[in-house]
Subunit: 188 residues, 2 copies
C-alpha cells in the first residue's frame, strides 16, 4: 500500500475533523464545545487541527460551508427526481419531514449558529445569510416553474416548519406546511 501523499492526507484529515466538529457543534451548540472535545472526537492531534484551521472561527465557518453544500445538494437530489413542477415544490416538504424525523434533529444549524454567534462573528453571520439566500433562491426557482406567484409564502412556510419542528421535536410541521402549499398551488 503506497503511502498517501501529504496533500491527500490533509484532505482526509479535514474530512474527519469537519465530521467530528459538525456533529458536536450541532448537538451541543458551538460555544459549548471546546477544541479539546473536537480533538478527542476527531482523533487528530491539536497541532494538526490548528494547522488545518488556524482558529476555531475558521473551523466553524468551514463546518457551516460544507454542511451547506451537502444539505442543499441532498435537497436538490431529492426534489429534482420529481418531474412535475408542482410536485417538486411539494417534494421539498417531504424531504423536510424526513429530515425532521432523523434522530438528533435539533433545528436549523444556521439559525442556531446565528443566534449564538451572529452578533460576534461577521464571518459566521455572512455564512448564515449566504445559506439562507441560497435556500430562498432555490425555492424561488422551483416555485416559479409552477407559475403560481407564491415564492415568499413557500419560503416562509419552509422556514417556519424547520424552526417549529426543531423546537417541538414534532415532524408534523412539515405536513402542515405541505398542505398549505398544496392549496396555494391550486387544484386543491
Amino acid at each position: 500500500m503506497p503511502a498517501p501523499t501529504s496533500e491527500e492526507r490533509n484532505r482526509l484529515d479535514r474530512a474527519v475533523l469537519l465530521d467530528a466538529a459538525e456533529r458536536l457543534f450541532y448537538e451541543r451548540g458551538i460555544r459549548a464545545v471546546g477544541m479539546d472535545q473536537v480533538r478527542a472526537a476527531s482523533g487528530l492531534p491539536l497541532k494538526r487541527i490548528y494547522r488545518l484551521f488556524s482558529a476555531k472561527e475558521d473551523l466553524v465557518v468551514a463546518v457551516l460551508r460544507r454542511r451547506d453544500q451537502r444539505w442543499r445538494g441532498e435537497l436538490v437530489d431529492h426534489v429534482e427526481r420529481v418531474p412535475e413542477p408542482r410536485d417538486r415544490v411539494l417534494a421539498l416538504f417531504d424531504w423536510l419531514e424526513r429530515w425532521f424525523a432523523e434522530p438528533g434533529f435539533r433545528g436549523c444549524a444556521w439559525i442556531n449558529a446565528h443566534g449564538e454567534l451572529g452578533s460576534s462573528s461577521e464571518r459566521v453571520l455572512a455564512e448564515v445569510r449566504s445559506h439562507k439566500q441560497a435556500f430562498h433562491d432555490q425555492i424561488a426557482e422551483w416555485v416559479r416553474a409552477t407559475g403560481a406567484p407564491v415564492v415568499e409564502p413557500v419560503v416562509l412556510l419552509a422556514e417556519g416548519a424547520i424552526v417549529t419542528a426543531g423546537v417541538s421535536g414534532d415532524p408534523a410541521a412539515a405536513r402542515h406546511a405541505r398542505r398549505a402549499v398544496a392549496r396555494m398551488l391550486g387544484t386543491v
Copy 2:
C-alpha cells in the same frame, strides 16, 4: 422619604437585573455574556445577584419567562384592539413588522436560546417550548374566530417571518406573510 421595605427593594433590584440581563443575552447570546458583565450592566453587586438567583441558569429562565409575559402581553394588546376576527389575524403581522424594524432586532429570543442551550439545559428547553406553545395557542384562538381552518399555516408563516427577518434584518418578511394569510382567509 421612607426607606423602601426590603421586599420592595428586592422587587426593584430584580427588575433592574432582569432588564440588564435580557438586553445582554439577546444582544450577544447567553453563553457569550459573563455574570460579571451582568453585574456591571445592572450596577448590582455580584453577591446580591446570587441572592436573587442562585445560578446563571435561574437568571436565564427568569429572563425568558418575564420576556414571554411582556412579549405576549404586548402582542395581545395590539391585536385585540382590532374588532374584526379577520383583521385581528392580520394585525398580528403588522405587530411583527413593527417588532422586526426595531433597532437591535435579532430574531426570536427563545429560538436563539434553544439553539444555544436547548440540549444542555432542561429548564431552558422547557421554557422555550412553553413559550412556543402559548404563541401557537394564542394564534389558534384568533384564527378559529375567523372560521377558516388555517391555524397551522398561520403559525408557520409567523414563525418563518420571525426567523427570516431575524437573519436577514429585513422586515419585509412580515408583509409577505401577511399577504399570504390575507389570501388564505378568503375574500382576496
